[in-house]
Amino acid sequence: MEYTILILILPLLSFLLLGLAGKIMPHKVAGTIGTLTLVAVTALSYYAAIEYFAAGRDASGVFAETMPYNFHWLPLGDTLCIDMGILISPISAMMLIVISTVSLMVHIYSLGYMEGERGFQRYYAFLSLFTFSMLGLVVATNIFQMYVFWELVGVSSYLLIGFYYTKPAAIAASKKAFIVTRFADLFFLIGILIYGYYTGTYSFTPQTDVLATAGAVLPTALLLMFIGGAGKSAMFPLHIWLPDAMEGPTPVSALIHAATMVVAGVYLVARMFPLFIGYAPEVLHIIAYVGAFTALYAAIVACVQTDIKRVLAFSTISQIAFMMVALGVCTSADPHEGGLGYMASMFHLFTHAMFKGLLFLGAGSIIHAVHSNEKSHMGGLRKYMPVTHITFLIACLAIAGIPPFSGFFSKDEILVACYNFSTPMGVFMSIVAAMTAFYMFRLYYLIFWGKSHYEEQLALYERGACDHEPHKPHESPARMTIPLIILAAITCVAGFIPFGEFISSNGRAYTIHIDKGVATASIILAAAGIALATIMYMKGESRITAKINQVLRTPIKAAYHRFYMDEVWMFITKKIIFKGISAPIAWFDRHIVDGSLDLLAKTAQKAGALIRPMQSGNVQTYSIWFLAGVLLISAILFFL
């Protein structure tokens, strides 16, 4: 499978080409280059995945990992070495498909969405860079390669979030995203260092005997790595960057902050799953609890946000938390014995990538139409944007877990895994799932139903109360709707993929079967959520809604402000780090460290001034000193 190298090289070349020569290219050419590259990458990815899975299982009944490339990149001492290479395994093949698909959709979509934007070529260059990095991450042959691409992903995300570099919010958001994830990466790095030191390798599959001796520190290492993953995957409290990251162009949000980069953390845990399950099951449970809390937190916050992309962002956090929970609740490597969560998580990752990508692209389409992110500028759009409306609805149904859409299947597996772990966990996650349905449909209604903001404005304009004619929402061009339709189609059918056949915790085939009880319960809960949303938001904001808002004023306000996590972040950065640590250190440096040197210089000057009077100009004084010197030296010689 040597051709897989092209999967990495093509986007890189595209990035270099667009990055270096982009300035002199017309927009169309740049867009075409980027998109065509992605088409090729996608084709190669699919081909690789198909070839890989078609090759069948080996004697032990698993899909053998293959490593078409692996070379020493940087030696770290005599034994350790950072390798670079390509590793094809079931999950990486799956990720190749996810990434290339969503990325291709985003590339196509952006042709329309970003049309005429300043820096169009740069945009495509960054997209290529991101795709390269993300693909490199998933095919990493070892943890350090993963870290290398992990960082690259972080940077490309930074560049893309800050794409509108003249917008202060975008600048702040990009900075925040980078720094928060970087902070998490620090732990990742330390984890890697511990891991590398004790296992003597950075490979994912160290020697068993080494592992036995390193066993004691492995949980620490893995926990630290998880913190790194939590940063990228926006687990509480490191999630704060993700909502802000919506300042980037919407297709970027779709690609990075919904489908691919944010699941890197999940992928990391999945990658290291054999080690987690074998040596650090307790860390997995920590992951589960963190995930569960994050899921709930994000769901609550999502219920009250007004910016549609923010809602989607929190929903993403919540859904990724689902995946984390699914991984965390695993208690063994056997899918039949408590290892179901692994498969469920990967499955959800797959389906979520599709429908969340769809949701973001849909949202992009809407924003493209109304030029605003705020729900107050929307409402009643279903008439104007039918394709967007339908595809958005499909995605909402999928995320809410309504069969036969893909989300139902994957979420169901997660819930089953949770119930297998413990009933409270199952119940808890079911409730979160219901909330998912609620806030997604709240969003849906607010956008597509209710009073049309455009019509209100038009009325105002006709009455002369408003001096410019409002912009009429319109359906997006085909370049944007076609990706929507494709993703919607995938969303519809993806649930029926026999996912367990390809991916499972121990690599052996696992047949998905739906737990009737859990499925029923979850459907009922989802329906209840949808119903509540329908009541509250279908016809604009009803009285009940107002009442509820009135009663729950304080919690809603808190939730709207995301429980003041950002204020805490600001406090930590601005007040503690900046004012509390950095500024005093800078002062200390200038005034104490440097000051003491200046003091030294001053002392010399002072001492000079002090001995100056000795040179009084009087010969007699000189002679007194002369003789005194003689006597003093003699005294020293005698008495020493």
Binding site: R612, P613, Q615, S616, G617, N618, V619, Q620, S623, I624, L627
Partner: protein, 103 residues
């Protein structure tokens, strides 16, 4: 002669340091010069005494004294010339006046 050598040496030491004292405390350049002469004179006594009492075999101390007198004369001549020059410039040979150069 049975005067112990130490007596002579102490006498010369006293003279020497009286000269030193004068050099330290006088205010007039000529007085300073006088004090120096006294010091040099004391040194000459030392040489002569050492030669006579301790090492009479050769005339080293003796000759040293002799040359010491000559050198003192030469020094005095130069010093007096310079003092005269100072007087021409400053119209005083008071040491207090010589304070242009200091610190």
């Amino acid at each position: 002669m049975n005067i112990p050598a130490e007596y002579l040496l102490i006498l010369s030491a006293v003279l020497f340091f009286i000269g030193v004292f004068g050099f330290f405390t006088r205010r007039n350049l000529v007085s300073l010069l006088i004090s120096t002469e006294m010091m040099l004179n004391a040194v000459d006594i030392n040489f002569a005494v050492f030669n006579a009492y301790c090492h009479p075999g050769h005339l080293e101390g003796y000759i040293f004294s002799l040359f010491g007198i000559g050198v003192a004369a030469a020094e005095t001549a130069v010093a007096i010339a310079i003092i005269i020059n100072v007087y021409r410039n400053f119209h005083s040979i008071h040491i207090k006046r010589l304070k242009n150069l200091k610190y």
